[in-house]
């Protein structure tokens, strides 16, 4: 299949999924339901899916490791902690302000992760995500303690499991920031790919490495915060989409980034649809479906990649 045909087929699949997402639901299809609920939900799924996949690939290039993404590097947990803190300190702040606080916390958490990694002398491919998971666990414990003290456990739970059932018009628009950041990432694609060659090669080619890494981490933090705030944490998507695309077209972002974003959006839609259809008329949150489907897919990729390298 030529690459143009592949892109067309992928686009058609995405469109079909989006259409299905607008048609599936309890309650009769009316213009009001479409405008208030189905279209916002579908858009939110597309935006969050594309954004998280792009955040995942950027993180992987910066950490020089295929197996990190916001939920395995302490980023998502830090965003939740930041969100919790701002909810306690300034409960009436507008959602954009809360999201920015969550983004700053996410950035700090990610920098901490990279700092801890630097201090570990021998790192194998698999210790890197393990360190991130441990760090995320510690941050999550702190958040849980705080939430317990301030009686906000329910709120914390809503950030921990990605769920689009509450997405309505007026409650998801922060996610458009994910689209804007995806475009920024595409514009700077060459710089990110070169940064992915490692610091020494990047500096040798005249790149301001610190600035490029800073930009990548800012994008990651903002996308993560925007999704955590609106729909909650969605695991594995940032791992699975970039790894599949990498196997097919490689990591030159100029070529792969649109596919990463598209696949992320598609997987998100598919998992959400599955969660809506299987227990119909009830729902399983997309975070849970992704945990199972994405986790399985990820395990497959892990074993396959190792087999090929070994």
């Amino acid at each position: 299949m030529s690459s143009a045909a592949a892109v067309n087929a992928a686009g058609a699949a995405l469109l079909a999924l989006a259409t299905a997402s607008m048609l599936v639901g309890v309650g009769d299809l009316s213009t009001e339901i479409l405008l208030a609920s189905r279209i916002p939900r579908t858009l939110a799924l597309l935006l969050a899916g594309a954004g998280l996949a792009v955040a995942g690939v950027l993180m992987q290039l910066v950490a020089q490791n295929r197996f990190v993404e916001p939920s395995t590097a302490g980023t998502a947990q830090s965003a939740s902690l930041g969100m919790l803190a701002v909810t306690i300190l300034a409960p009436d702040a507008p959602v954009v302000v809360k999201m920015l606080c969550a983004a700053i916390a996410a950035l700090v958490g990610t920098l901490l992760f990279l700092r801890v990694l630097k201090a570990i002398p021998l790192r194998s491919t698999l210790t890197v995500p393990l360190v991130g998971i441990v760090l995320g666990g510690i941050i999550w414990a702190a958040a849980t303690f705080l939430a317990y003290r301030y009686d906000l456990m329910q709120m914390l739970a809503s950030w921990s499991t990605g769920d689009f059932s509450t997405v309505l018009r007026g409650r998801y628009e922060v996610l458009w920031i994910a689209l804007a950041l995806t475009i920024v990432a595409y514009v700077a694609a060459d710089r990110f790919t070169i940064a992915g060659l490692g610091r020494d090669s990047a500096v040798g080619l005249g790149l301001d490495y610190r600035r490029v890494v800073g930009l990548a981490l800012t994008i990651v933090a903002l996308v993560t915060a925007a999704t955590v705030v609106t729909v909650g944490t969605i695991p594995f998507l940032g791992l699975v989409a970039p790894n599949i695309v990498s196997l097919i077209v490689g990591d030159n972002l100029r070529r792969s980034l649109p596919l990463v974003a598209g696949l992320g959006a598609g997987l998100m839609l598919a998992c959400d649809l599955l969660g809506r259809l299987v227990p119909y008329p009830f729902e399983i949150p997309v975070g849970t479906v992704m945990g199972v489907a994405g986790g399985g897919l990820f395990l497959y990729l892990l074993l396959r990649r190792d087999a090929r390298l070994g």
Partner: protein, 252 residues
């Protein structure tokens, strides 16, 4: 012109590179030799701005590497590091194309493309151009990185152990190629080499380091002698002359 003044790198109190002042000859092949831990790679890393100096300065064409902006230096100085393991999955051609980044900023012109193909041919990589880096051998990957550095088209090339991972045929091929870069294109090549015989047969100038200091420098006739080499490596060396080149025997 590459010049250093009292260039120093300390870890805690121990100096790994200790006040090295050098002027490396232009349009010539300089080999840096020395035992493990002599400070060769650290010296090269400081000159190529990958590592900050603890004291002293390094200049490329009169530009202080510590204060000159990265993209200006990238058009004058290309570097090859020891470790070319990469997690990013890019093709050989993509990698070589990134060598043009300092000039093209990602928008390749016809001239850029010609340089890329030229570098691929120069390293006999054309048949592998569309393979991913994780699908080729370590030696092929090493050559791909050298092709990237050549495509960067700079007057100065700094290479940290360019013969790593290469078998004898490709090691000799690499040295011939670096020699050609000097003779045919007027480049200045500086390479850290562990194989003293390659340094002796190909270099114009040899810098010998020990314990962070330069203990001798000069053309191969001056450096490749039993007395100098024993001072550098601390083992007995026998030097013989084969076809006019000095060759060192130290194997047993």
């Amino acid at each position: 012109m590459i010049e250093t003044q009292e260039l120093t790198r300390r870890y805690d109190k121990a100096a790994v590179v200790d006040a090295v002042s050098l002027q490396l000859p232009e349009q010539a092949f300089t080999a840096i030799i020395g035992a493990n831990g002599a400070g060769k790679s650290t010296f090269l890393a400081m000159v190529s701005r990958l590592m900050p100096a603890s004291a002293g300065r390094a200049f490329v064409d009169g530009l202080d590497v510590a204060t000159t902006s990265g993209d200006v230096l990238a058009r004058r100085l290309a570097i090859l590091r020891q470790d070319s393991a990469v997690t990013a999955r890019v093709t050989v051609r993509d990698l070589v194309a990134f060598g043009r980044y300092p000039h093209s900023r990602g928008r390749l012109t016809a001239e850029d493309r010609a340089q890329i193909e030229d570098a691929l041919d120069f390293l006999e990589l054309a048949p592998l151009a569309d393979r991913f880096l994780d699908e080729i051998s370590g030696g092929q990957r090493q050559r791909a990185f050298v092709a990237m550095v050549l495509a960067q088209d700079t007057d100065h090339l700094l290479l940290d152990e360019p013969l790593n991972n290469l078998d004898m045929r490709h090691a000799a091929g690499m040295m011939k190629l670096l020699r050609r870069a000097v003779d045919e294109r007027g480049r200045t090549v500086v390479a850290v080499l562990h194989d003293i015989n390659f340094a002796s047969c190909y270099a114009d100038h040899i810098v010998a380091m020990r314990d962070g200091r330069v203990i001798a420098e000069g053309p191969p006739e001056v450096i490749v002698t039993p007395s100098v080499l024993e001072a550098v490596y601390g083992i007995a060396m026998e030097v013989v002359s084969v076809r006019g080149y000095r060759s060192v025997h130290y194997y047993r």
